[in-house]
Symmetry: C2
Subunit: 330 residues, 2 copies
DNA sequence: CTGAAAGCGCTAACAA
DNA sequence: TTGTTAGCGCTTTCAG
């Protein structure tokens, strides 16, 4: 296959300068109609396609944004990724994905190597000073970094957790366990706080063992179910800080011959795809993932295309209680 | 914030030429020890970081691969995406994601705009001539394009489907429906073929209505369950060509007061995360998604870094029957 | 071992 | 309206 045509080939074929070709393609109105036609014909004849990398270098921008998340395999992220891709794609920006769990040196270069115009950060666990070292705009999605006050898009996790626990209280439960998330994670903390606050608000106590360690995964949820079954007295309800762990919990209950919600009420957090179709359907806090991804992408794209800084505000989207079949009165 | 240091700034600070700085950084052994030290000091002092975009342009490569899939929101893809990211990242390549469902013109530019060195294509529905028009290597993952014989990595879907149906036959089922996938999709066809072949091999017949239209989604699976319930006689087992649709099917059976596997055996295809923890756990054909993504990425990365063409072979990975609780003897 | 100079392929001032 | 001329920031001959 012969070498791909460059702008010079087109210019020659059309009998004009390369500058004219460039203009005919990117600002057609500033070129004579007849010239433009000649150029377009030459483009068609040569099969010319502009080299985006060269244009980007010249214009000192990358026309790309980076999505940085821990564990891309997590299905929680997929909807967000899709929404981001959608918005960015419509704006003519490429989306690059990266794993935030790789070594810091590799990450540090990300925001400064000229290959990305902005970052969507879904991991609140990165060192604030590293993120500050990037010289492209950064927006946090879902999570946030304590003390680095970056622009962000998220829900009020603490309030969501309170709603969840309040729902259980409303059903008459008075012994409510909480299955936590990964240690150190901001969401884990906020949601566990909400659990505590709801109980305190209702004057209901809890024992040390009622806050069960977790990590948002199904396997860990299953393990928690076994631990729960061994407790005496058993909590009559459990607030799982993620849907995945709730699903794992329920599944393991089933394997132990215990029924949800008859033997224990279970509520989750996130409202992932499968929750609605689980058996029983999972009562949970709905987190609008597509909207979160979309809004974050829109804010970032706006900043990037305007060449402006991101406004530092936090966009807080609503979450809501989605009552389904996994919770019942005591 | 002051302007980011360029290679010229470093050169000046170190009292050497830009060429030497470049060499000190990328081929340290070809520079005098003392000079190298001076350069590194200057790098540290200026906070210099090479502009990757400029390097890439000069070297005429993008150090990036593109992952092109329909509907990134589909959880089926997440594991593959993660595996690809992992392999590519380790090789120093960026992963760009794109939606294969956007308009053809936008897609056509993808493989020729100099911003990507290769494509992982997860959509068998793209026009072959467009893909042929790309001038970077392309590897198909999971799906394939009829008639364009591109390198690929996948399982034998027809054989997998046969295994699934054979399992039902072995359990004594003689009236086995098939819930299909999206029309025109290569996987739909291959899996439905496998269903037909297995039945034929066992001398078991099927009626026209036994091949139910589907699209791999849970909602459609649920709808199929209602259709199935209305059939007379009802098939005693159904082979769903995707796990998602199987889960939707089972869930809807539950809502109708019917039990799986007591009232109907259900088998899926893919073995997604949730299948193992569904109630009942889903019997299915395990498709090694991480391995598929990993191998495809490895092949592509090898070709890209060697600057060589991809060998045209199809890598066929093993799939296997994973028996769980959603199937039972008649 | 090091430096000067020529680009990668394109766009943006500036003139004409 | 069009062409000329410089670069974007780096790497890579080619000399020295």
């Amino acid at each position: 296959m012969r070498r791909r045509a460059g702008i010079a080939d087109v210019a020659q074929a059309a009998g004009v300068s390369t500058a004219t070709v460039s203009r005919a393609l990117s600002m057609p109105e500033r070129v004579g109609a007849e010239t433009r036609a000649r150029v377009l014909k030459a483009v068609a004849a040569t099969g010319y396609r502009a080299n985006a990398a060269a244009r980007d270098l010249r214009q000192r921008r990358a026309r790309a944004v980076t999505l940085l998340a821990p564990n891309l395999a997590n299905t929680f992220f997929s909807r967000i990724v899709a929404a981001v891709q959608d918005v960015a794609g419509d704006a003519g920006l490429t989306v690059q994905i990266s794993d935030s769990l790789v070594e810091v040196p590799r990450l540090a270069g990300l925001g400064v190597d000229g290959r990305s115009d902005g970052v969507l950060l879904l991991d609140g666990g990165l060192p604030a000073e590293m993120v500050r070292g990037w010289d492209v705009p950064v927006i946090m999605v879902c999570e946030w970094i304590e003390g680095a006050d970056l622009p962000g898009v998220r829900i009020d996790n603490r309030a969501g957790a309170r709603m969840a626990v309040q729902h259980l209280l409303d059903l008459g439960h008075r012994h409510i366990a909480c299955l936590g998330g990964p240690g150190g994670n901001v969401l884990s903390r906020a949601r566990a706080d909400g659990w505590r606050a709801a109980l305190a608000g209702a004057g209901v106590g809890h024992r040390p063992g009622d806050l069960m360690p977790g990590d948002f995964t199904m396997e860990r949820g299953a393990r928690a179910a076994r631990d729960w079954a061994a407790m005496a007295p058993r909590p009559t309800a459990v607030f799982c800080t993620s849907d995945e762990s709730a699903l794992g919990f329920i599944s393991e209950c089933d394997r132990m011959g215990l029924r949800v919600p008859d033997d224990v009420s279970v509520i989750g957090f996130d409202d992932i795809e499968f929750s609605d179709r689980f058996i029983p359907p999972l009562t949970t806090i709905h987190q609008p993932r597509a909207a979160l991804g979309r809004l974050a992408a829109e804010r970032l794209v706006a900043a990037v295309t305007a060449g402006a800084a991101l406004s530092p505000e936090q966009s807080i989207l609503d979450c809501r209680l989605q009552v389904r079949g996994s919770t019942a009165p005591v």
